[in-house]
Amino acid sequence: MLHLVNKSPFESTGLESAVRYAHKGSPILLFEDGVYAAMAGTAYEDKIKEIMSDHEVYVLKEDLAARGIADRVVDGVKEIDYPGFVDLVEQHKTASWA
């Protein structure tokens, strides 16, 4: 199952919920304000790295660019665009942790 997270990890517990319920191996896609969770150098970086030990973490390029953090992505996070987002949804049932 693909888990969609669209809220900043500094403001909302959406990503924590997704991770609590996601089985090992289930991918997580960060978009909208959720992309801040994929930013290097933040207080959340250790947490996202821990999440990446159990899950592929994807981040939406369009939302990274809008926020000026396209060059600050934590190593190992996979950047995708909207067509890539569609492909992921094609491969997985999808839960939205708004």
């Binding site: 369009e62 909207y82 987002f85 569609v86 949804v89 094609e90 049932k93 708004a98």
Partner: protein, 119 residues
Amino acid sequence: MKFGILILEGPYQHESSDSAYHFTKAALEKGHEVLRVFFYQDGVINSTKLMEPQQDDRHIQRRWSELQEKYDLDYVVCVAAAKRRGINDDVIGPGFKIGGLGMLTEVAIEADRVVQFGA
């Protein structure tokens, strides 16, 4: 693949309606079928043709209407949610129609994937 799209938040206030639009467009461009876009909760406000954003900003209703026309899409605005928020047949833009919540259940039955956007 057959997609259904569910939108739960209003235009401009949240990025969700932008994300839903870009996702829907990308799915269509990849050749997927989008059975229905269902506008629920504040999502119903995406449909109002009375919106007049600034000249240099996107026009969210018009963008949806153009996509509908191009791909002959089925847009349903939930009647109960719409009535609460002042959306009715007189204010919805081209390509939108007002319909019952059952039409969301129909999508859940028929689509391979329903993707929801909001809050």
